[in-house]
């Protein structure tokens, strides 16, 4: 279970303090498929990265299975990310000089897994996202949808419990976006992942089983679908 406890994230901007997250509290249960919606600048991505252990809050705390992740050292937090969190980005963020297969292996390399185990796990992850046949292509040789599938494979290759997706369909057409969402739903159902998707697309958010809306760093609406 993920608990976001009265978290505030403040930025200095032009001498003024801006609250990206304003005393926000949110509980996310294991296996939830949560969609975070809201207009641009409402703090959706800030919340996502705070949950992922990438953004230290100005105030408040985030716990994952009762472990306060911001009380960990930065090294321990990196280990927490390696073992528990998978990230998916709007722009895919694949390394252009590596093949799809090698991109998927990166989290395992960072975790110190042996080359043979890396290869086996990467192969399995690519099969799960239906892209095994394109494993040895570089990102520039893949379509947007295929690149996002590689990004998802990279996100799940370490068998994390939490999958965080920041506008995963933002750079895709509607059809491909739907396919990606179907894939995320399937992975959520099959692997019992906790999935948190940031989106401003209501149709995409409809696919989640729980939806929260944010404005100005606060939760303004929450509903189960």
């Amino acid at each position: 279970m993920i608990m976001v406890n009265e978290v505030t994230k403040a930025y200095e901007m032009g001498g003024n303090q801006v609250l990206a997250l304003n005393n926000l509290t949110l509980r996310i249960d294991d296996g939830d498929f949560l969609a975070i919606t809201g207009p641009s600048g409402s703090g959706k991505s800030t919340l996502l990265y705070t949950v992922g252990g990438l953004l230290t809050p100005t105030k408040g705390d985030v716990t994952v299975d009762d472990m306060s992740i911001y009380k960990l050292t930065s090294r321990e937090r990196a280990k927490f990310r390696r073992e528990n969190v998978g990230f998916i980005f709007q722009s895919f963020e694949l390394l252009p000089y590596l093949t799809a297969f090698e991109n998927v292996m990166i989290p395992l390399y960072l975790a110190g897994v042996s080359s043979i185990e890396q290869e086996t796990a990467a192969q399995e992850a690519l099969e799960k996202v239906g892209l095994a046949s394109r494993a040895y292509h570089k990102p520039t040789e893949l379509s947007g949808g295929e690149q996002q599938r590689v990004s998802i494979a990279r996100g799940i290759v370490s068998n994390p419990t939490i999958l965080l997706a920041d506008e995963p369909t933002g750079n895709l057409d509607q059809k491909t976006g739907n396919e990606i969402m179907q894939l995320l739903c399937r992975l959520h159902a099959k692997d019992e992942l906790t999935v948190i998707v940031v989106t401003h697309d209501a149709a995409i958010a409809e696919r989640a089983n729980r939806r929260v809306e944010m404005i100005d760093g606060r939760l303004v609406q929450e509903r189960a679908i």
């Binding site: 990438l54 990230f87 390394l95």
Partner: protein
């Protein structure tokens, strides 16, 4: 996936930049290796020339009177006992003595000409005077065989095989000395003991030439030791010119190494600058790595490995280019023939290690900067 794979792929993606960043480092290593190679070869060459110059020390009687000039050293008409030769071989630095060659000078009439007679030990003299080119053969010791200088040959119309009457003794000319441009061209060389008999100076010698075996022999010390061992002689070291040249080589090498150090610092600055811009260019990539679980150690490892590979490649390329350029330019511009067999091997690993270390030092700050990147800001960087 290994760290090396990541680094190699990244470097090969940015070949131009990698090469540019290494140029300063390569130049510094080229300069260091060529300076070392050329100065080492110059030392060897000078060492060889020292041997060609003949004696390092000339031992003469302690006298003020002037009668016979021998090269730049003036020989008096007072002689030294031949037993002094054995005493010279007992000095503390005797291991540095390459050859000890006693000589007796005298004059004799031949027709209307006055000839300079030089008594010598042929096998010793030829060791000292490596530039001698004899048509014929050397005189046998204790024999009535002589060799004559080129001027004697032409003035007196003598050839190898001719007989020559000196005082009451008939000598057989067995060899003609090619022109040397020295007093040797005017001389008749014969075995020492034969000359002593002819000149009526048994067991006497005029001078003793001493050749030292090493490049950096303590010549002044050896000279003093000779004067201590043999009474009433003056031992004159004639190595000043060589030493001056050696010093010039050392000064040039020091200056070039100073220049190389400056280039090395500039090279390091180049590597640092390139790596800093690489950190800036790859800021999103660094953010992605961090989000996937990379900690500072992963980032340091990546940057250090990259700089090590750059340093290693620069070191190897610089060393090879340094050796090639010294072999090409040494003979052309400095008239120093480069023989790689004369060059010790240790500067090669030393130059490569220097390049790797310099590159690693240059990557410290960029790696630290990379580790301080805020991953979320990095991911939002356009």
């Amino acid at each position: 996936m290994r760290a090396a794979t990541l680094v190699f792929r990244n470097l090969s993606r940015r070949k131009g930049r990698s090469i540019l960043s290494s140029i300063g480092l390569i130049l510094a290593i080229v300069l260091i290796v060529s300076v070392f190679t050329i100065s080492r070869s110059m030392e060897v060459q000078i060492g060889d020339e020292v041997e060609k110059y003949g004696p390092n020390i000339v031992v003469t009687p302690k006298t003020e009177s002037i009668s016979v000039p021998y090269g730049s050293v003036v020989i008096g008409n007072v002689t030294i006992p031949e037993s002094s030769v054995a005493k010279i071989s007992t000095i503390p630095n005797k291991q540095n003595l390459r050859v000890v060659s006693p000589k007796l000078y005298g004059q004799a009439q031949y027709g209307n000409s006055s000839l300079l007679i030089v008594g010598m030990l042929p096998e010793k003299e030829i060791q000292l005077k490596k530039w001698w080119n004899i048509t014929g053969s050397l005189p046998q010791n204790e024999s009535s065989e002589v060799i004559i200088g080129s001027v004697v040959k032409s003035r007196l119309g003598l050839t190898a095989g001719s007989m020559i009457q000196i005082k009451n003794s008939t000598q057989n000319i067995v060899g003609i000395l090619s022109e040397t441009g020295s007093v040797d061209d005017y001389s008749i060389f014969m075995p020492l003991h034969v000359a002593q008999t002819i000149l009526d100076l048994v067991d006497k010698v005029s001078i003793i030439d001493v050749g030292a075996i090493c490049n950096n022999c303590p010549v002044e010390v050896i000279s003093q030791q000779i004067m201590d061992a043999v009474p009433n002689v003056k031992a004159t070291p004639i190595r000043q010119a060589v030493e001056t040249r050696m010093k010039a080589v050392e000064q040039t090498a020091s200056f070039s190494l100073l220049l190389a150090s400056i280039i090395l610092v500039v090279g390091c600055a180049g590597v640092m600058n390139t790596m800093l811009s690489s950190v800036h260019e790859r800021i999103r990539e660094i953010g992605v790595f961090m989000s996937l679980g990379a900690d500072n150690n992963h980032l340091y490892k990546m940057f250090f490995l990259e700089s090590m590979i750059l340093g290693l490649a620069s070191g190897v390329i610089g060393t090879v280019m340094g050796l090639i350029s010294s072999m090409v330019f040494g003979p052309v511009f400095l008239e120093v023939p480069i023989n790689l067999a004369d060059i010790p091997i240790y500067p090669i690993p030393l130059a490569i290690s220097l390049s790797v270390s310099a590159s690693l030092i240059a990557s410290l700050y960029p790696a630290w900067r990379a580790s301080k990147i805020d991953p979320v800001k990095a991911l939002k960087t356009v």
